[in-house]
């Protein structure tokens, strides 16, 4: 790092991403509480572990290949160019470890520029990309109480470390082919994280089937109430909090015009979105809160004060505006955040009735439909705006964003459907009906109770 200003900028950026990672981890605390709150008492432990173990699994696989996919595939490859070399993202590269700023002797492929840029920021920027875990966790809640944990973990790696990061490379990378050719704009990942996860969750649910007892013999659905509404509520509040960190992690906090390939002129340094186009933390703070408010207010009305859906629609409000929240006016964020979740709520019950899909937490509606519609709406709202500061990129437009939204949903749906079909054919997808009825914690609960009885009996025997 040459010069005090460069050093300060690098260290500020490093600290900035570190803070976002800590905040984002709250999403997973929230997801764990939320899922346990929704599941019935006889399924708590497996439900918790199913979701929690996605954290280490997606983390290590993201290290092995997810990080490299993001930098290697922005051209498709084969759509806007070939495969891009990204030595700093290869898991065996010294730049993935503790590193100062020089090029290691004998290191191939690493330029002084790579070394200078990535020596301190590689790990912390990698950590900020752990929306990967979030993408996997979104699916987790839908499939509770009947899925085999191993099946979910395989899909978690597929979606969290391969599929979402592939679409991020295409539509959420400053040089992504969807941005270049279609003008795709999805600043805070309505499509890149949420639509793809919603598509994957829907595919999983179709193959997995509903919980025993969810549908009456005549086909109408029963409500299976959450075990603990308090846990659900606190979980969702934590998800909201973590989501704020996620928003910040989708920005570059401070960058000089000269660094953005000289496209932005003048001397004014700026925060940018992931596409390196200017935005402000002020804008996203305002818009995040307004979209959350719109979702909660509309959710309260459409669900007639149901706490579960009021909170979920708040989340859906944020997701549905995320594609354009770097550029919306706060009132626009409020209204989009109110209207889209109301549609998603209706769609959830329509799909449940019509196709007998048992989505225990409404994740397909909140994330899938909310994310999809959010991308579509951004295409209209931001029509004609530059998607990127780079010359020659397509401008934001409704067709590009609609095609992008479809691509996101399908990219989540199709591979997940195929993998779930394979797992199902191997009898690895769903627990047997007897285990489902007993509760997936049956053996664990019996062992726990036996231990309690044994210890209690021993303690009572010591009373004189």
């Amino acid at each position: 790092m040459e010069g005090n200003l460069n050093a300060l900028t690098t260290i500020f950026t490093e600290f900035y991403y570190w803070v976002t990672i800590v905040m984002m981890f709250l999403i997973h605390v929230g997801f764990c509480m939320y899922e346990v709150g929704v599941s019935r008492r006889r399924n708590h432990l497996k439900t918790l572990m199913k979701n929690a173990m996605a954290i280490p699994l997606v983390t290590i696989t993201f290290y092995f290949f997810g990080w490299w996919i993001y930098f290697g595939f922005p051209n498709g490859p084969g759509i806007a160019g070939g495969l891009v070399t990204a030595p700093f993202a290869e898991p065996w590269n010294p730049l993935m470890g503790t590193h100062l700023s020089g090029v290691n002797p004998g290191e191939t492929g690493v330029t002084p520029t790579d070394a200078a840029l990535w020596h301190r920021l590689n790990g912390v920027f990698w950590g900020a990309f752990l929306f990967s875990i979030t993408t996997a966790s979104i699916i987790s809640g839908s499939i509770i109480e009947r899925v085999r944990s191993g099946a979910f973990w395989i899909v978690a790696v597929l979606v969290g470390s391969v599929l979402w990061i592939l679409d991020a490379s295409w539509g959420w990378h400053p040089q992504g082919w969807m941005v270049k050719l279609w003008g795709y704009h999805d600043a805070y990942a309505s499509g890149v994280v949420h639509a793809i996860a919603g598509g994957a969750a829907l595919a999983f649910l179709i193959v997995l089937g509903p919980r025993i007892g969810k549908f009456k013999p005549d086909g109408t659905a029963r409500e299976i109430p959450p075990h603990n509404v308090w846990l659900v509520t606190i979980g969702l509040f934590l998800i909201f909090t973590g989501f704020w960190g996620f928003y910040a992690a989708c920005n570059i906090p401070l960058i000089s015009p000269a660094t953005i390939a000289g496209q932005i002129t003048g001397e004014t340094w700026t925060a940018t979105n992931i596409y390196l186009a200017p935005t402000t933390l002020s804008a996203i703070t305002f818009n995040f809160l307004m979209s959350l408010s719109g979702g909660m207010l509309a959710g309260y009305i459409v669900s007639k004060g149901d706490p579960f859906w009021t909170f979920s629609m708040g989340l859906c409000g944020v997701i549905s505006t995320s594609a354009g929240n770097d550029l919306y006016h706060p009132i626009q964020a409020l209204l989009i955040g109110a209207i889209v979740p109301s549609i998603c709520y209706k769609l959830h019950y329509f799909v449940e009735r019509r196709f007998k899909i048992d989505d225990a937490v409404g994740a397909v509606a909140v994330h899938g439909y909310g994310g999809f519609l959010g991308v579509v709406v951004a295409g209209f709202m931001l029509w004609g705006q530059p998607s990127s500061p780079y010359e020659g990129f397509a401008h934001i437009n409704p067709l590009g964003n609609f095609a992008g939204a479809v691509l996101m949903f399908v990219l989540g749906f199709v591979p997940t459907f195929i993998v779930c079909k394979i797992l199902n054919s191997m009898n690895l997808l769903r627990v047997p009906a007897k285990v489902e009825l007993e509760g997936v914690d049956f053996a664990l609960n019996h062992a726990f109770e036996a231990s309690v009885r044994e210890v209690g009996a021993a303690e009572k025997a010591m009373i004189k």
Partner: protein, 72 residues
């Protein structure tokens, strides 16, 4: 045509003001926002009235109410 007037980011940022879509319609947007807010109170009050009336009508004998008191 661009909804925020920006056709390119190849500009000096010190010369750029607002970058949200449909600038100039702030007053209209605020009015719509206010209508949304007031409308929410109207709808919420109607829903709550209906719910309270349904609660009142649901337990003519008082047995459910006694059981609710016991549960607490």
């Amino acid at each position: 045509m661009s909804t925020n007037g920006m056709e390119s980011w190849a500009v000096d940022l010190k010369d750029v003001g607002a970058i949200y879509p449909f600038q100039g319609s702030e007053v209209v947007m605020v009015i719509i926002g206010l209508v949304f807010w007031i409308g929410w109170h109207v709808l919420q009050t109607r829903q709550e009235n209906a719910e309270i009336e349904a609660d009142m009508a649901a337990d003519r004998t008082g047995d459910e109410t006694r059981r609710a008191i016991d549960r607490h």
